[in-house]
């Protein structure tokens, strides 16, 4: 017989995994443009890094969801089922939020680095030799 606890677990797993997939797909779709810019238009490299980031995202989130499955109260009626489910999914959403902002931070850091590479000198020279210097 399927108890309230088992229904809670099933609901928790379905909702959490669905949320994880939705966030990962959003990241994958919208993060690509950031990465292409960060890798100076190298689309192959950007796609590869994007894919690897999404794999890491799935591993961490699904890992957390499965680990946290058995923790929490054992519900005995429908009200407790909803409360437990809400608490557990709330934690998953917080983890997803932290991971999402971490990914955004990584993307923006990569982009900033790429912009730094092409940056002109930040100070003007105080003198000029009047001819280039040969680097031999």
């Amino acid at each position: 017989m399927i108890t309230h606890t088992v229904w809670t677990y099933i609901g928790y797993l379905v909702i959490s995994v669905a949320l994880t997939i939705w966030v990962a797909r959003t990241l994958h779709k919208n993060g690509r443009i950031f990465l292409v810019d960060s890798f100076l238009g190298n689309e192959k490299l950007a796609d590869s890094v994007n894919h690897l980031l999404v794999v890491g995202f799935y591993l961490i989130n699904i890992g957390y969801v499965t680990l946290a499955l058995k923790y929490g109260d054992r519900p005995s009626d429908l009200q407790q089922v909803l409360e437990t489910l809400s608490t557990k999914i709330g934690f998953v959403l917080l983890v997803l939020g932290v991971m999402h902002f971490f990914n955004l931070y990584v993307f923006s850091k990569m982009r900033r680095r790429a912009l730094l590479r092409g940056q002109p000198p930040p100070v003007i020279p105080q003198a000029h030799l009047g001819q280039p210097v040969v680097a031999s």
Partner: protein, 144 residues
Amino acid sequence: MKTLFVIYDSECGFCCRCRQWLAQQPAYLDLRFFQRNSPEVVCRFPGIEKLLRLDELLVVSDEGAVYRGAHAWVMCLYALREYREWASKLAHPSLLPFAWRAYELFSENRREFSRWMKLLPEEEIAKKIRQHSPPPVCSNERKP
């Protein structure tokens, strides 16, 4: 800009240590180092004699642009991968005067600072190594 030539005071232990540190950092630009008292400097950088008299750190780009003092420090940071962002921050008009003041304060006391930190210039380190190295083994002392 692909190369920066850093002309530093080889008689200052701290400057030599900074040179070593700069050479070890991953960089966007190729960094070449020259001792200020080396005769090669005048040959390689014609017209730099007047600036050498100022007793300051000099950085010359491969395009012939010369940066001195705190500007030279900023350019050294600009060349490094990990510190280019710092160079931009330091070059901001609100921070650059402080960088200049810090540079002047340090530059005037660099020899005393090196002594206090027990940082020896490269030539003195080489002299000490030569003093403590064993005498060379002569080939005619080998047994047949």
